[in-house]
Amino acid sequence: MPDVERLERTIETKAVVLPKERERFDTWWFLVLAVAGVVALLVFVKPDPFLRIVLFLRDGIGVTVRITVISFAFILVVGLIGGLGRLAKNWLIHGIASLYVEIIRGIPLLVQLLFLYFAFPQVLDTVGAWLMKLSPSLHGAGKWLVDVKPDPFVMAVAGLTICYGAYMSEIYRAGIQSISKGQMEAARSLGMSYFQAMRYVILPQAVRVILPPVGNEFVALLKDSSLVSVVAVSDMTRRGREFMSSSFMSLETWTMVALLYLVMTLFASRVVAYIERKTAFAK
């Protein structure tokens, strides 16, 4: 048995990624160019309605990109905290993190967004009114809660972050767990604290492991951001619906919206693949 283990170890440690293979041109970029080309062709050959549609969607494209990028930044942080929480030995921290992940994963994103935008303000109103009644010193805080108007953009970012943060927690957890226990032991035995070991030893390795699933999450988020159109955010999907209801050109509108999403998602997955190749190390 030890011989088999030793052999496996040798195979593992000797499998070095060849630099040639890493630098080879990624042919999937042609697909991105092809889809972008179709969009350009439609706009050029039939400016009416396609150029009109693109111009109408323009701010929506910006909103979609902004909401995706901003949410993703928060999601990376929430996911890290959630993932570390899931791995915590402290039962309370572990319990809270696990509860968060299990509950959020069990509710559809669309329902979460609807709840945040339509139901949550009512919760704030109730709590605010209760605070105002409770004590004069809390009157200010209570009044603020009653008066505060939910900003659609903020609520959308919050909703996406809460939902995707749960999935991201599981990705971080799996990534950290995939690093052998010996790495943490070696780091700790050199006198590093838990967080130093995480920062300098475990996470740099885990990040390379989780990059593909994290990239997938980004692409999925880009698509799921279309759901925020139901909570009064003027993203690309909502702008598409507005154009359609004024022009009645369903086929043209949704073809263009679909193509634009496709250009963005294909582009994003190519960027992820590029980063993956750049950060790969001999293992």
């Binding site: 035995s189 050199l190 006198g191 390795q205 190390f281």
Partner: protein
């Protein structure tokens, strides 16, 4: 400065229902080289790992260089004084050999980049592979990786070095290069606790040999006496199996 650098008293460690250590007393003096042998599952690695608190004791106490290993705030202090070398090397695969050796110096000892790199290069020369400074672990042989791991531990200037079966994962032709480094270290007067069945090393470097079985110390003796006149039946049986 007291002469006993490691004092272990009544050490008990349980993994679930299994008792890995069943009341171990051991004292190691400054500069002493102690080799621990024994069949697998006898608790020798567990004992070693308890000395720098990779495992915590269920009963008993360990005092390292006058610091009891009970309060949490002492643990990082003790760990920086106690280097450990693992069977599986456990080098950081995303860092070069040089970076493996400088990381803890910079993060824990707060040394500058220049100073930690100077120390790292000196240590790489000492273990005989200065030319591999910028190689990644995957580009090194097992013996070279283990020598980098020794250099990494030495960079913290530990007072004690622990070796947990340092040559068990190595191909036969690489064992000597690692043992040579360990022998040199022993000659310099480093306090060492070594779990290993390399009897050549034990004969050449050990001041004391400890035979463990079933979580207890069965016999404590010198290398000469162990090979010529083992006292216990279990020791004899074990020796007859490993000295073929």
């Amino acid at each position: 400065m007291q002469n006993e650098i490691i004092i272990i008293q009544g050490a008990v460690k349980r993994f679930g229902r299994v008792e890995a250590l069943r009341g171990v007393d051991l004292t190691v003096r400054r500069g002493e080289v102690v080799v621990i042998i024994g069949p697998s599952g006898s608790g020798k690695s567990t004992l070693l790992r308890c000395i720098n608190h990779l495992e915590s004791l269920d009963e008993g106490c360990i005092i390292v260089d006058g610091i009891p290993l009970t309060q949490a705030e002492n643990i990082n202090r003790v760990r920086a004084e106690v280097g450990i070398v693992f069977q599986q090397f456990n080098l950081f695969p995303h860092l070069t050999a040089l970076e493996n050796i400088t990381l803890a110096q910079r993060v824990v000892r707060k040394r500058s980049r220049e100073e930690s790199e100077r120390i790292a290069m000196e240590l790489l020369k000492k273990v005989g592979i200065p030319e591999k400074a910028h190689a990644y672990p995957a580009q090194l042989s097992g013996g070279q990786q283990q020598r980098v791991a020794i250099a990494r531990a030495l960079a913290m200037q530990p007072k004690i070095m622990l070796f947990d079966e340092p040559t068990s994962a190595l191909d036969p032709e690489m064992i000597k290069e690692v043992l040579d480094v360990m022998l040199a270290l022993a000659k310099e007067g480093m306090t060492m606790v070594v779990v290993s069945h390399e009897m050549g090393f034990a004969r050449a470097a050990a001041d004391r040999i400890i035979f463990m079985d079933e979580g207890q110390i069965v016999e404590e003796t010198t290398p000469e006496l162990l090979f010529t006149a083992p006292k216990h039946e279990r020791t004899k049986l074990f020796l007859s199996k490993i000295l073929h």
